[in-house]
């Protein structure tokens, strides 16, 4: 058995914003700090483990890249949810039993991935 001194280490991440600050309360303040946007995503995002209370980063990435990917993942999840198959239309007998239906409605098509 390997002679591990620590097991079950917890992987954690944290955003470390730039010391110059942001978001800013006005464009004048943003410009004074060198930014051309009032709400920049600054600094780095650190991913690491906690060893006996000490944070040991093993990956440091530009924060805006990480949050870009989070936003892209959210957008993709929303798109996926929107393209999921709709519940199938009730059978004719059930439709008749449940009352009149709006004319001209087409049943939802099952989603077929492209490419």
């Amino acid at each position: 058995m390997a002679d591990y001194t620590h097991t079950d280490l917890q992987v954690v991440g944290r955003h470390v914003p730039d010391g110059a600050g942001g978001p800013f309360d006005s464009m004048d303040h943003a410009k004074a700090a060198g930014h051309d946007t009032i709400n920049p995503v600054t600094g780095v995002y650190e991913i690491g483990v906690i060893i006996e209370g000490a944070f040991y980063p093993f990956l440091v990435e530009k924060a805006s890249l990480v949050f870009d990917r989070i936003e892209a993942a959210k957008a993709q999840a929303s798109a996926d949810a929107a393209s999921e198959p709709q519940p199938t239309a009730p059978a004719e007998g059930e439709a008749a039993a449940s009352g009149p239906q709006a004319g001209g409605a087409t049943p939802a098509q099952p989603y077929e991935p492209q490419g």
Binding site: A20, G34, H35, D36, T37, L65, R69
Partner: protein, 282 residues
């Protein structure tokens, strides 16, 4: 014989994705068109680029077979994956490295078409040397002239920041905005700079360089930027490639940062040799 070394950058903040499906456009203030040159010819002495999230391939074309062989794919460059600060790390990957170069000719227009993944940002920068650019008398020195006039060394902080738009230049920041120790009447030969956070491109601009940009990459694997212009001079020993300005003009020497990540703040420390007399040549 007005001489100039000019930095240009082309980028796209969010690609469509697909095989050579995207074309980069010149950043604000920059151009893909080769200007009218007295000699008719210039050369791209350095080029670097990055994709924000994925591998990519870039085809550089223009109208001359003497420059890029053919107008179909011309010179193709790959931007590799994440290992060592590649794509997805937003650093600066070499595409043309001295002493190799690419000839360019009056009237040509460069085109960068890219194979990439959708929604990536792509950024390419390059330095072009013009031996004879009308209307410009750029102030550059070589190492011998810098050493002959050397008084001391200085490192000066300038906190220019990348734009909130990926690939674009951020706001201009004067080299005396954060550190005012430049001395009027003394001459400064910029050998390079150091950064805390790698970025793709850092641009210098000022009237002493014809108000054209020059600059350099500041990201892996070219993050050793403290001697960048000196190293460039070593690779082209007959050229003057170390930019020079007078301390009185520090307020008009402007830095800009372009990166494939938004709002990157690299924390630039400019390394310069202070000279008592002007070391510029030509």
């Amino acid at each position: 014989m007005p001489r100039a070394v000019v930095l240009n950058t082309a980028s796209k903040a969010s690609t469509t994705g697909g095989t050579f499906a995207d074309t980069l456009t010149a950043n604000s203030g920059d151009s893909l068109t080769i200007p009218n040159l007295q000699s008719g010819q210039g050369k791209i002495v350095s080029m670097w680029g990055i994709d924000s999230a994925s591998v990519a391939e870039i085809a550089l074309t223009d109208g001359r077979v003497e420059s890029v062989h053919d107008p179909q794919f011309g010179v193709r460059f790959n931007l590799p994956a994440t290992a060592g600060g590649g794509a997805g790390k937003n650093y600066a990957l070499p595409m043309i490295t001295p002493p190799n170069y690419l000839d360019v000719f009056t009237g040509d227009t460069l085109a960068f078409t890219c194979t990439s993944t959708a929604s990536d940002a792509i950024l390419v920068s390059w330095l072009t040397e013009y031996v004879d650019l009308p209307g410009v008398q750029a102030s550059f020195a070589n190492w011998q002239s810098v050493m002959a006039n050397r008084f001391t060394e200085i490192g000066v902080a300038c906190n220019a920041v990348a734009s909130g738009t990926k690939g674009a230049y951020g706001a201009t920041r004067a080299v005396n905005a954060d550190d005012t120790r430049w001395t009027g009447g003394r001459w400064y030969a910029i050998t390079g700079f150091t950064v805390q956070l790698p970025v793709t491109t850092i641009s210098f601009k000022g009237p002493m360089w014809g108000n054209f940009r020059f600059g350099l990459p500041a990201g892996l694997p070219t993050v050793q930027t403290d001697n960048y212009f000196l190293d460039l001079n070593r690779l082209y020993p007959n050229e003057a490639l170390i930019p020079v300005f007078n301390g009185y003009d520090a307020g008009s020497v402007l830095l800009e940062v372009a990166d494939a990540a938004a709002s990157t703040s690299p924390k630039i420390d400019i390394i310069a040799v202070e000279c008592k007399s002007n070391p510029a040549i030509g």
